[in-house]
């Protein structure tokens, strides 16, 4: 009951959803459309789980474990500020947008920008001719990198066209094979789920 009922639900819904893609049916298609919308509502409702856990973890840190109390207090204050102001003013209010633009946007873009730095150090380590495969990686990486940058053309005039060729030909082939492999892998996982042999996502023990 604890495992079989959820498995049966997943299987039935999965089969319905797949059938919906192939078949035009006045009964099935609207049903699946509504079901999809209902699931989006349900996942939105699930946000409370995260909220409860976040509050509990940080309150515990302040009251019970007494570690990183200042940081946890900051989390709770920032959280409360965004929730309360959002609830009172509404998410479209200009003052709320001001808060969003002042605190979240700079952190979003700074954290993403960190990847520029990290790519540099990763490239320094990974682009090393340890083996033949690594040499191919290095060559393709460096040529495409230079092909993008303005300085590449100055160093060697053929760089942009060579880089474009790598993107259009070997890269296309590689990505296409990866994508096809993903499709096959996903199908295999789906088959395992439908036949009830993949239970990993529903507590593998038992």
């Amino acid at each position: 009951m604890k495992i079989k009922l959820p498995l049966a639900i997943t299987t039935i819904i999965l089969v319905l959803m797949v059938a919906d893609y192939f078949v035009k049916d006045p009964l099935l298609n609207p049903l699946v459309r509504d079901l999809t919308k209902a699931i989006l509502i349900m996942t939105a409702c699930a946000v409370g789980i995260g909220v409860i856990r976040l509050i509990k973890l940080n309150v515990d840190r302040i009251t019970v474990r007494k570690t990183n109390r200042l940081e946890s207090a900051i989390t709770l204050i920032a959280f409360a500020a965004f929730v309360i102001v959002g609830a009172i003013l509404g998410s479209g209010h200009p003052n709320y947008a001001y808060m969003f633009n002042t605190i979240i946007v700079p952190l979003d873009s700074t954290m993403f920008a960190l990847s520029g730095f990290y790519m540099a150090s990763a490239a320094y380590r990974a682009f090393r001719a340890r083996s033949e495969e690594a040499f191919v990686l290095l060559l393709a990486g460096v040529v495409v990198m230079l092909g993008q940058a303005p300085v590449g053309e100055v160093l060697w005039s053929a760089t942009p066209s060579l880089s474009q060729w790598i993107m259009d030909v070997p890269n296309t082939a590689g990505v296409r094979a990866l994508i096809m492999g993903i499709a096959i892998g996903m199908l295999s996982l789906t088959i395992r789920m439908i036949t009830g042999h993949e239970k990993g996502y529903l507590a593998s023990g038992e």
């Binding site: 893609y21 192939f22 078949v23 035009k24 049916d25 699931i39 989006l40 996942t43 699930a46 946000v47 409370g48 789980i49 995260g50 909220v51 856990r53 976040l54 973890l57 515990d60 979240i104 952190l107 979003d108 954290m111 993403f112 960190l114 990847s115 990290y118 790519m119 150090s121 990763a122 490239a123 380590r125 990974a126 990686l137 990505v175 990866l178 994508i179 096809m180 492999g181 993903i182 096959i184 892998g185 996903m186 199908l187 295999s188 996982l189 789906t190 088959i191 395992r192 789920m193 036949t195 042999h197 993949e198 990993g200 996502y201 529903l202 507590a203 593998s204 023990g205 038992e206």
Partner: protein, 280 residues
């Protein structure tokens, strides 16, 4: 369209099935046939395994490295961090997230035996119950239910880069010895992987997002490449039926290879039937 072979096949199909019985959405017929063929091949392999014909699966080095990484963390007495990524249970990322959770079940069982600390993070709040349940059951199966602590499972934030920031903090502060990332990753893949390297962790990465895969290849010690992510759970479970489905993947692969082979030979001779049929 009527005079081409494709048109004839389509007409034949509608005659057999009947117009009013089922109306196949336009442009999905070839997909339906291929999907059915591949599924049947996989199911046949799955049930062949049940009858005792267990297929041999080649070694997947990146998956074998997971044991090694757990061993290292145990020796050092430092925690293992497992991330199922920024995916949720809807759309493209759902399958990879499920595959990642499936591997997590194995990792948690192994860790429970060794008594090594474990930290699991994920982005979407709806993933939490599943992840917590899987880890709890793994500890139960290993006979150490008391060793499971709810704060092993850490929800950080459902905002993508806030999650990445939190993970960087955990990797640095908790002195993580092994960092396993299997699931859906986006722009944060590079950040987490390189921060993990700087924190001195052994890293195993795996994702089906082809745009982010190169970053894992560059920064991680081992990488599960696209398809291997989906097979990893079955490979680790050593369950013959699941292995059968993985062997079925090879048959589906051969379907693709043969179609491309025949199609290319015909196309070189100037016949484009195969490509046309696939348009149906």
């Amino acid at each position: 369209m009527q005079q081409t072979p494709c048109g004839l096949i389509y007409q034949l199909f509608t005659v057999c099935v009947g117009d009013d019985l089922l109306e196949i959405a336009k442009g999905t017929l070839s997909c339906l046939v291929l999907l059915a063929a591949c599924s049947i091949l996989m199911i046949i392999m799955l049930y062949a395994a049940r009858k005792g014909r267990v297929p041999k699966i080649r070694k997947i080095p990146a998956v074998d490295a997971i044991d090694e990484a757990i061993g290292r963390a145990t020796e050092m007495g430092r925690p293992v961090h497992y991330s199922t990524g920024t995916g949720d249970f809807y759309g493209y990322d759902a399958m990879v997230t499920i595959a990642g959770i499936s591997v997590l079940g194995y990792v948690a069982k192994k860790i429970a035996q060794y008594n090594t600390p474990l930290i699991v993070t994920f982005m979407s709040p709806e993933v939490e119950p599943v992840v917590a349940d899987v880890v709890k059951q793994a500890y139960l199966a290993a006979g150490r239910p008391d060793a499971f602590k709810p704060d092993m499972i850490r929800f950080i934030s459902q905002r993508q880069f806030a999650y990445a920031t939190g993970v960087i903090g955990i990797l640095n502060r908790e002195k993580v010895a092994a960092n396993v990332m299997i699931g859906h990753f986006m722009g944060e893949a590079m950040i987490i992987a390189e921060a993990g390297y700087m924190a001195g962790a052994v890293q195993i990465g795996g994702t089906a997002n082809t745009i982010q895969l190169p970053f894992f290849v560059a920064a991680c010690d081992y990488t599960l490449i696209s398809e291997e992510v989906y097979a990893a759970g079955a490979y680790l479970s050593k369950d013959p039926l699941q292995l059968g489905a993985v062997a079925g993947q090879d048959w589906a692969r051969l379907v693709g290879v043969v179609l491309i082979g025949i199609g290319t030979i015909l196309a070189t001779l100037g016949v484009t039937w195969v490509a046309d049929i696939l348009k149906l």
